[in-house]
Structures are given as C-alpha cells and as structure tokens.
C-alpha cells in the first residue's frame, strides 16, 4: 500500500533530538527541556508536512485505512491469519487432543470428527478449503472456527451431545462462519486499527510501535494484502487479536442468523435431523457461548424459525419434494467420540 509504505519514510525521517549547549544545574535542565520541546515541535511539524505531501490530508490517510474494512482478504492471507489465531486459541484452551503419530489409536476421535466435518464441509459453499477439525482438551462446552477452515470443539462439548445430528449442527454452524467469512471482519478491524495507529504516529511525529511499523511495511499492494513472511511477530500479534475477538466478542447478529440458516441447510443436505440442533441448544447452560453469541433462547427461537421457514416455504424449487425413503437421521455419536 503506497500510503503506508510512504509513512515508513515519514517515521524514518524523524531522527533523535539534537542536544543543546551544555549548561550547568537547573538552568541546563530547563534549556535542554526547552530545546527538546522545540525539537519535538519541529518534528511534529515536519512529519505532518510530509504526511500531507504524501496523502493530501490526515483525513485522507484515515479514510485509506478505513477502506481496509471492506477490502477482500486473499486466500493465502486468510489461511495464514486463521492458522495463527488457531494456534493461540488452542494454546489458551487446553491444547489439542491428538496421538503421538499418524497411526496412534488415540487418533480415533479426531478421525471420526473429521469424517463428519469434511462430509458437511464438502456440501458447503467453500468445499475447496482444507477443512481441519480438532478436539480441544477442555472441560468447558464450546466451539470455534478460524478463517481458512480450522474448526475446534472442546472435549466438554463432545460429552454433551446426544447424537451425531447434534454434533453435526455445531460443526455446521462453525463451518457457516467460515464460509460467510465472518471472522475476517474481526481481522479487518484489527488491520484498520493498526493502520490508524500508524497514521496517528505519523501525525504526532512519533515513531510507531515496532509491530505497527512492520505491519505497514508488510502492506504489499493496493489491495492491502499482508504478506507475513519475515514478519512472524506481526502475525503472532494479529493472530492473538483475532483469537481474542473470537473468544470474547460477539459476531454481528445478522451473521449469527445467517450462520444458523446455513447450518440448518447443511444439516438437511447431509441428511441429519435439523431439529436436533435446536434440541441441543436447549440442553446447554445459559452461559454457553454467551460472551460471543446471542442469548440461548434467542438462538433457539431463531433455529425454530428457520425450521418453520423450511417447512412453510411454498417449495418453489423444482427439486421438492423428493421424498427420500430414510428421512433424516439422528444416529448415535461415533463410539470413538463417545468414549472421550
């Protein structure tokens, strides 16, 4: 991004303060203070002039940062930030349950979870992603997904589900957040914040933080695409921000509604009884995902509304009704998962 690359130059141009003449005692301190104040003022003026020369006005620069909020995120960038967030999310939530090698029998739960997850993901709007489903070694009841298709469920959640349809509902909801690119909105906000920090530092004539400076230098194109190669500390910082947002901030209510709709659709497509998802939500404590999702009763009402919408739709699609013989399943959960 030209703006931010130019700002690197603005910051680099701001050198250390010049020393004043050496005077003794308090007089000397006062003189040095005065000189430093004048020097600071000159630096601020110089930086502001250079900033204006590059961007027109500070407002323009801020506007350019704001554009990052609506820019597409490239696939490799999405996967990389998703991985970084996933690493920190797993580290903060008990770690991942997995065997010591590929052939370890302890991998059975992970295999079962991925067989279910990949079946659902193959029917999603982004079947081509490298979907990865992992079990977190935590007694809490929760599930998350990070950009690029990394999905986590806790051991505590797996103990709660009564059948495969309920687990499929949880996974489908997380898949829907990925296909809807909902978490990327949180990432975009992190980018905008860092960009604004950089602009603010330029306006104030102060050096931006190391992270922000590296971030600015990493903007590689007008797209605002971030190439994290060689800037792994920046990636860790931004991954931590995204992971924290996923764990503590709510998605947009419209995104939650959409995720539930898409999840119910996936359940139907995969042949699972969608009403089981509503039942599962009803079984959970009121605290389930209460920091990051709408209240439980609201979610249940939304899911039931979707079921009614499905049922009452005039079936304008030419495909309905197709009349499958077996209906929708709510089979027992895989023994490997039930044994956890």
């Amino acid at each position: 991004m030209r703006l931010t690359l130019a700002l690197v130059g603005v910051i680099a141009a701001a050198g250390p303060c010049a020393n004043g003449p050496q005077l003794p005692g308090a007089l000397g301190d006062a003189a040095r203070s005065l000189n430093e104040t004048r020097e600071d003022a000159r630096e601020v003026a110089n930086a502001s002039e250079k900033l204006k020369a590059v961007t027109g006005t500070a407002g323009d620069a801020v506007n350019r940062c704001d554009r990052l909020r609506t820019q597409d995120i490239a696939l490799d960038e999405e996967r990389t930030i998703g991985e970084a967030a996933a690493i920190q999310l797993a580290a903060a939530n008990g770690g991942i349950l997995i065997g010591r090698n590929v052939d370890d029998p302890a991998n059975a739960p992970t295999i079962a979870l991925n067989q279910l997850g990949t079946k659902l993901a193959a029917l999603s709007e982004r079947p081509h992603l490298a979907w990865t489903f992992s079990i977190l070694d935590s007694d809490t009841v929760n599930a998350w997904s990070t950009p690029g298709g990394l999905v986590f469920v806790t051991r505590g959640l797996l103990k709660k589900v009564e059948n495969e349809a309920q687990l499929a509902g949880v996974l489908a909801h997380e898949i829907a957040h990925v296909t809807g690119r909902h978490a990327l909105n949180k990432y975009r906000e992190v980018k905008v914040e860092q960009c604004r920090n950089y602009v603010a530092a330029g306006i104030a004539g102060k050096a931006a933080s190391a992270v922000t400076s590296k971030l600015a230098a990493s903007f590689g194109s007008d797209l605002g695409h971030l190439d994290f190669r060689g800037a792994e500390d920046v990636l860790a910082n931004m991954g931590a921000s995204v992971a924290a947002a996923l764990q503590h901030e709510k998605f947009d209510p419209k995104q939650e509604t959409q995720a539930d709709y898409d999840a119910m659709s996936l359940l139907v497509l995969a042949g699972y009884q969608p009403a089981e998802y509503a039942k599962f939500l009803g079984m959970l404590p009121d605290t389930f995902q209460h920091d990051t999702h709408p209240p439980k009763q609201e979610r249940i009402a939304n899911v039931k509304s979707i079921l009614n919408q499905f049922a009452k739709d005039p079936l304008r699609s030419p495909g309905a009704p197709y009349g499958p013989e077996q209906g929708y399943t709510a089979d027992p959960i895989s023994p490997a998962l039930a044994a956890l």
């Binding site: 990389t80 690493i87 580290a91 081509h128 792994e232 139907v268 739709d313 009704p321 197709y322």
Partner: protein
C-alpha cells in the same frame, strides 16, 4: 416437526432455500461437491462420464419426482442424473488470490489448484508461535495441529485430496 414436512426439505435447500424464484428447464445450476457423479438412471447405480468438480456448470432439466435425483445435461452434452445435494442453484464462492499483477477472483476449481486445499501450516504461522503470549503452549499447538493435518491426509476419506 413432523417427519413428513421434513422429507421435502433437502432438495429445497440444495436448490435455493428461501429463494423467490423457480428454476426452469434449461437454467444453469452448479456442482457443489467434489467428484460428483452423473448417473445413467435416477438410482445412483451406474455412473457415466468423468466425475464433476465444484463450480462445473450443468443445465437443469427436471427433478425426478419421488427420488433424490435431478435430471441434468453436462457441458459435454451428457444427459443423466445427479443427487440433489451435489448441486446448487448458486455457484460456489470465489476466492481472491494476489499475483504480481494484482488481485484476482478465482473460482472453486482454480482455488483448489492454487493450493486452497494444501495441508500443513504455513512457515510463517509455525514461526509465529515463538512470538505468542505463551510460546511454549503455542509451539505445542503447532506440533499438534501438524499431526491433525497428517492424520486427516492419511486417515480421512477425501482429506488428502
């Protein structure tokens, strides 16, 4: 919900739940699932032609009542039947990739070829663990995630692409 009301939902969702339009014979639909097979009859017994991939276009002919199948024509002119949940009225989402000459939107097939399905953590995300708030726990998470990826590639159908 009564079982009978659920029975018709699958095809509705597959071809555009909640949509206010109706497909007509000759309209374009899209393959949504990998390795989608076209069958000679609406029973799934005898596949014909090569497997189709997400984003492939089909001409919709009709839904075969009382079955899970739609009658379609492929781009190569093959007329046959596909399962309802392998097709969609909308194309799979495109992806953005950045090349030397700028950003490009690419379709599902190109995404797969570009490496969207590549397994294993990127070098930069692996290295990011050293800078995490808890580097030791993060490094363990990296190693565990790598093993999960390896298990999927070797043990899960379709996981290795």
């Amino acid at each position: 919900m009564k079982r009978s009301t659920l029975l018709g939902l699958g095809a509705l969702v597959a071809l555009g739940a909640g949509a206010s339009w109706a497909l007509g014979s000759g309209d374009t639909i899209y393959v949504r699932a990998r390795d989608t097979r076209v069958f000679k009859d609406p029973d799934g017994a005898r596949p014909i032609g090569a497997p189709l991939q997400p984003g492939d276009k089909l001409v919709w002919i009709e839904q075969v009542k009382g079955t899970k199948f739609h009658k379609v024509k492929t781009a190569k002119g093959v007329v046959g039947y596909v399962l309802f949940n392998t097709v969609s009225a909308t194309a799979p989402k495109t992806e953005v990739v950045v090349k030397q000459d700028g950003a490009h939107h690419i379709d599902a097939q190109a995404s797969a070829a570009y490496g969207a399905a590549a397994r294993g953590l990127t070098e930069e995300s692996r290295k990011s663990a050293a800078h995490a708030p808890d580097p030791e726990a993060a490094q363990k998470a990296v190693e565990d995630l790598q093993r999960v990826e390896a298990v999927i590639a070797k043990k899960v159908k379709g996981g290795g692409r």
